[in-house]
């Protein structure tokens, strides 16, 4: 759906400060019909990458290529993309419904189509009750929900979300994650940046990880976890004192099992210890 080829972005602040390179020869691919997480610490270059993808800023070097199925020129391509920026701030004096009409009309939808989409998504996003209120009365979570709603109004093929889950309570995060999975099942590609690694691990099949403006990892979530399997196993057994747990190195695993089997204990499970994506990312940091 989207390919970055050798993207470099340098910001030239002014005469008195050194130029700052935010992205260094970054190349990656967002495969169609997948949920791809975009990870990295603050300042790693995630938002800069998304701004380049959306043509808000131009790269110093490299190319951005969209899947030809999205269209040939930028207007065709953008008509099939839904984008939600980080910490969205919308027109405070428009109501949620007026805002939906505004963005819907810009997406070449007519009033009837917009009404159908509002009806379809506003209940799903639990924002239907506030659609006729001015946006300046919305909470942060409600802003995120109305933002997500207008992102999906025109039924985009490719959805790009910049920190969509930040600032939401656990219920809000779960709702939005469920919707992301739901729209992916409809064949849509979702590419979203996040600080919350566990969310990415939970719903993404693939992950792109930036570190200090460079690509650190690109691939499937399962693969990175497999690569980071620890050389230890956990043996759980039951004795007179209850369930016990023993962490042993994989080399010593068989010896320990033999030792336990001669004692009067019942072995419950033997598991290879796996690192979570979060642990892997923290180790990288």
């Amino acid at each position: 759906m989207l390919e970055f080829i050798d993207i470099t972005k340098t910001f030239n602040a002014d005469l008195f400060t050194q130029p700052f390179t935010a992205l260094k020869n970054v190349s990656f691919k967002v495969e169609p019909e997948k949920i791809v997480g975009f990870l990295g610490a603050n300042g790693a270059g995630k938002t800069t990458s998304l701004k380049i993808a959306m043509d808000f800023i131009r790269p110093t070097g490299g190319n951005v290529i969209f899947d030809p199925r999205l269209g040939k020129n930028s207007l065709d391509i953008f008509s099939k993309i839904g984008f939600l920026p980080e910490r969205p701030f919308f027109y405070p004096y428009l109501t949620g419904r007026e805002f939906c009409y505004y963005i819907g009309k810009l997406s070449d939808l007519n009033k009837k189509e917009i009404d159908i989409k509002i009806e379809q998504w506003s209940h799903r996003f639990k924002i239907h009750f506030a659609l006729d209120r001015e946006i300046n009365t919305y909470s942060k979570g409600m802003l995120q929900r109305i933002g997500f709603l207008v992102t999906l109004l025109h039924d985009p093929e490719f959805i790009i979300l910049d920190e969509p889950l930040s600032g939401l309570d656990p219920i809000g995060r779960k709702d939005l994650k469920d919707i992301i999975v739901e729209i992916n099942k409809l064949g849509k590609t979702v590419f979203f940046s996040s600080h919350i690694v566990s969310d990415v691990e939970e719903i993404c099949s693939n992950v792109i990880f930036l570190k200090d403006g460079e690509l650190y990892y690109e691939g499937s979530v399962d693969e990175i976890i497999q690569k980071n399997i620890k050389p230890t196993s956990i043996i759980k057994y039951l004795n007179d004192e209850g369930i016990q747990q023993l962490t042993v190195s994989n080399e010593n695993k068989m010896n320990e099992i033999q030792k336990l089997s001669v004692t009067n204990v019942q072995i419950i499970s033997i598991e290879v210890e796996k690192a979570s994506l979060e642990e892997i990312i923290y180790n990288v940091k």
Partner: protein, 261 residues
């Protein structure tokens, strides 16, 4: 470039820009200003001998002009820069909307608000003028039209500056351009300038590059009943329109190249 789809989008952006500004209660200030204008005009009328209707017209058109320019500057300075700062522009231009469509829509939207402001104040000023004995002259309508052009030109100037520098500096620069643009014609005929060729050249340069707002000021001609040819009126009108169009093209060029970060 400007096909029907894009024109529809420009209209949509303009419509919702006007709606947003009107709902922000800017026009409530206009109504309060209009009420104040009525009171001040009545007081001035009560203390004036000779031609009180002219005084009413002077107050009315002066308020009309200044309030429109003030709205143009203070609302116009955030017209594009606030959109970038608040990232609302990302939502708009991530839709199939060309950047020039966005800038034109925003400018047209706020221009409509300026026109509504001028209409409201005109509807307060003119009936009062006729009520106290003023007579209709076509120059009154020309003057109001020129005020519309002047305030839209100020809007384009301030939004142009806001693409290049900070909001505060944009406001200061726009006010300076407005004042100098009105004073330049008078300054040129001063002896002080006539005796200094370099200064005269600087003023000539200003004439060619920066807007001559004095050309869009018909109030003195109207109040002192000076005759103006239709050629003068149309050529100055064209000057304002062409200057505004050229500056809008420059704003579009800058905005299309600008990194929106």
């Amino acid at each position: 470039m400007l096909n029907r789809k894009v024109l529809n989008k420009i209209y949509t952006i303009a419509f919702y820009t006007s709606k947003e500004v009107i709902k922000s209660k800017v026009l409530l200030n206009t109504l309060i200003l209009g009420f104040g204008l009525l009171v001040v005009t009545f007081i001035a009328y009560s203390f004036t001998y000779g031609e009180p209707s002219r005084v009413a017209l002077d107050f009315g058109l002066g308020t009309l002009s200044l309030s429109s320019v003030a709205i143009a500057i203070f609302m116009g300075v955030g017209l594009l820069s606030d959109e970038i700062q608040n990232r609302t522009v990302y939502i708009i231009i991530s839709r199939p909307v060309p950047r020039y469509g966005f800038i034109l829509g925003r400018l047209i939207g706020l221009s409509c608000v300026l026109v509504i402001n001028i209409l409201i104040l005109s509807l307060i000023t003119l009936p009062l003028y006729f009520f106290i004995g003023g007579v209709y002259e076509s120059l009154i309508l020309w003057t109001i039209l020129y005020i519309v052009i002047e305030s839209i030109l100020m809007l384009i100037i301030v939004s142009f500056f806001s693409l290049l520098t900070t909001k505060v500096l944009s406001v200061i620069l726009s006010i300076v351009v407005y004042i100098v643009g009105h004073a330049i014609d008078g300054a040129k005929i001063l002896n002080f300038v006539a005796e200094r060729p370099i200064l005269e050249k600087v003023l000539d340069f200003y004439h060619y590059v920066l807007p001559g707002f004095y050309k869009l000021n018909l109030k003195d001609h109207l109040l002192y009943k000076q005759n103006i040819s239709i050629d003068y009126l149309t050529s100055n009108l064209m000057y304002g329109v062409i200057y505004g169009a050229a500056l809008t093209m420059m704003s579009i060029f800058i905005f299309s190249k600008k990194n929106l970060d």
